[in-house]
């Protein structure tokens, strides 16, 4: 890792010097922030708090044409969209959202099959992280194995200092990204590094909420059939926002658009909060109600993911809490498990 510094007034120049990539930056949209492809370096709002939607859709788009195909007398003509995937930069991603990409890797790249679309986009994406100096009220990344200055999954890591940004180049991909911009970077001093440490500490001290995950998975399994899950999901209206906005959720549907002669196969985000998601053709549904569907969300994130990949499926971004129209709060739910009176002990 090599550490540099760039002055604030040169940041736009650095952004403009990145060529050959679609550069996604946090931009302002009303009172929210949204990652969008940069048209002008001035669009980038690096002082943002959190984007309403995580930038995972750069790598796992909400709608993605997998292939176009036509029936021919002797088979199909398939035009695979894999051949047209470009190169991307996610510039200014927060630690939670970057860690979520590491989590998505466990799902999409591990196991018997590799998802080739995800793999290609992931390979073609360079991740520039931006340390968080001020958490939101519902942020709890520190409780789930990370922290506001965590660098996991970053190719380059930026920290905003008073007079510039500390630029840590972590991987070869990061090096390649900045190859044309080296003249904008200066050396960093010990004072900069100690300022970074100071900011980290100050930020950590600002966290309000936390989860204690130790032993929770076992406890949750003990009370799998408890009415607790009905009680905590009581208000849910099944809108799916908590999953659609979650940086680690990966569930998708595959749909065809077109006629019987030619068509398009599209992958679209789906949600375990919708009844059709699991409904069998016989109309039997293994998760018939919101109790079962919300329970699936909590268990997938806090039990199954850990069992399968030794990584929680929640990075503590707090979006599902901030955006749920009925105020279902994953921190309260997971913490509340400790107080449930039933289950085998």
């Amino acid at each position: 890792m090599t550490t540099y510094k760039i002055s604030k007034d040169k940041m736009n120049e650095l952004l403009t010097s990145i060529k050959g990539y679609d550069v996604y930056v946090p931009t302002e949209m009303g009172d929210k922030f949204q990652f969008r492809v940069m048209k002008d370096a001035g669009d980038a709002k690096l002082g943002y708090s959190q984007s309403a939607k995580p930038p995972k859709d750069v790598i796992f788009p909400q709608n993605e044409v997998l292939m176009n195909y036509k029936i021919q007398p002797n088979g199909f003509d398939v035009e695979n969209s894999l051949d047209h995937i470009g190169k991307f930069v996610i510039f200014g991603i927060r630690n939670c959202d970057a860690r979520a990409l590491k989590y998505l890797d466990t799902q999409m790249l591990n196991g018997k099959y590799v998802d080739p679309y995800y793999a290609k986009r992931r390979e073609n994406t360079t991740v520039v992280g931006l340390a968080c100096n001020s958490p939101l009220y519902n942020c709890f990344c520190r409780s789930v194995g990370a922290g506001p200055h965590h660098k996991e999954g970053h190719d380059v890591h930026l920290t905003e200092l008073d007079d510039g940004y500390l630029v840590e180049v972590i991987t070869d991909k990061g090096k390649e990204l900045l190859a044309n911009s080296m003249s904008l970077l200066a050396g960093s001093s010990d004072a900069d590094t100690s300022k970074q440490a100071e900011l980290k500490q100050a930020c950590e001290a600002k966290f309000v909420r936390k989860i204690d995950v130790k032993g929770n998975d076992k406890r949750m399994l003990d009370i799998f059939e408890s009415d607790y899950w009905r009680d905590v999901s009581d208000g849910c209206i099944g809108c799916g926002i908590c999953t659609l906005l979650c940086p680690t959720c990966f569930c998708f549907d595959i749909q065809d658009i077109g006629s019987r002669k030619e068509g398009q196969r599209v992958r679209v985000w789906d949600s375990c909060q919708y009844p059709e998601y699991t409904m069998h053709a016989s109309s039997h549904n293994p998760r018939p109600g919101k109790k079962e569907r919300q329970r699936q969300r909590f268990f997938h994130k806090y039990v199954y993911s850990y069992k399968n990949n030794q990584m929680l499926g929640c990075v503590g971004c707090g979006r599902c809490i901030n955006q749920c129209p009925t105020q279902i709060d994953i921190i309260d739910v997971i913490e509340g498990v400790k107080n449930v009176k039933e289950g085998s002990e």
Binding site: L66, M67, Y69, I71, N74, G75, F76, V78, N80, L82, Q107, M108, G111, K112, Y113, D115, P116, Y117, L221, F224, E225, F250, C251, F252, D253, I254, Q255, D256, I257, G258, S259, R260, K261, E262, G263, R265, D270, C272, Y277, T278, M279, H280, A281, S282, H284, P286, R287, E292, Q296, F299, H300, V303, Y304, K307, N308
Partner: protein
């Protein structure tokens, strides 16, 4: 073959037969890969499924019902229940359909060598296990296994899938075949009418006490009672069962009563599926993805799953 697991391989429909009628009819479709390379690369074992693609309509996970001993084609038995399966029912000989797979784990048939095999199917549930009996009964493999017993039931004789081959087996000395159809439901409830000719009823209250007339292979009863009456011995035996969840539940209970251990009983689990390759998320039971970790489980494993299926 492309190394993209989502890309279907083209196959030609070479045979279509109606297997069962009613409101949810079942058709058997025989397909052959168009590209020699796809044919050679597609190595299925009993228990595997494939995803069939109907362009513009979508995809469905379907059990491969033909045994791997059939090298030149694959067979699928498809119940018409929705958009894709309706499109599959409209296929005619010569049409093209997409196939991807094979998917899922397999029945551990090699571990069963030297054992007696009891196969118990209900309704469309015969589809995933048909590949087992046709594999075992193939002349190349028959000597590796002991006695083979097939038990199968459906609502009416018309609803029995694969009846052509089952009726042929019924006439042979090997395997032992027992078939049943459901009680008839008249306006006043069950057993209002006489049983259908040739399908005598058995005592439903105490099926185990029923004496089977020699040579009788057809009955009017539910599959779990057929099992109770035929009383397969658990001694050095493997039982494989598949059907609607409620049928599996009672069949398994009756096998347990007969002395079968949970590890001697195999079944397949089905959940709604899309990707078939462990990515789309929807088929999980707890931490298990049925599409890759299943669909075959022994009953001990089934009991260890979280109760959400």
């Amino acid at each position: 073959m492309s190394d993209n697991p989502y890309e279907p391989m083209p196959a030609r429909v070479i045979g279509v037969s109606m297997e069962a009628g009613g409101i949810r009819p079942v058709k058997k479709i025989q397909v052959a890969f168009i590209n020699e390379e796809d044919k050679n690369n597609f190595k299925n074992v009993p228990g595997n499924c494939a995803i069939l693609s109907m362009i513009g309509q979508g995809e469905s996970m379907i059990s491969i019902t033909s045994p791997p001993t059939e090298k030149d084609f694959l067979e699928f038995a498809i119940m018409k229940v929705g958009v894709v399966t309706t499109a599959l029912h409209e296929l005619e000989v010569g049409d093209i359909v997409g196939v991807r797979g094979p998917y899922g784990n397999a029945f551990p048939i090699d571990d069963w060598k030297g054992k007696d095999i009891v196969i118990i199917g209900a309704g469309i549930g015969m589809a995933p296990i048909r590949s087992i009996y046709n594999y075992i009964l193939h002349p190349d493999n028959r000597k590796d296994f002991g006695k083979v017993t097939l038990m199968y039931g459906a609502r009416t004789p018309n609803d029995l899938s694969f009846k052509k081959e089952l009726f042929e087996y019924e006439d042979q000395a090997d395997p032992d075949v027992f078939l049943c159809i459901d009680w008839k439901f008249g306006p006043n409830g069950m057993m209002d009418e006489d049983a259908q000719e040739g399908w005598p009823r058995i005592n439903m209250k105490d099926a185990g006490a029923t004496v089977i007339p020699p040579g009788q292979t057809r009955f009017t009863c539910f599959v779990p009672q057929l099992v109770e009456m035929i009383k397969p011995s658990p001694e050095n035996t493997i039982a494989i069962t598949c059907g609607p969840p409620i049928a599996i539940k009672f069949i398994t209970q009756n096998l347990s009563k007969l002395g079968f251990d949970d590890e001697q009983i195999f079944t397949t689990m089905e959940n709604r599926m899309k990707c078939g390759i462990g990515k789309c998320g929807r088929c999980n039971i707890g931490e298990v993805f049925v599409c890759v970790d299943g669909p075959v489980f022994n009953y001990k494993q089934v009991k260890e799953l979280l109760p959400e299926y």
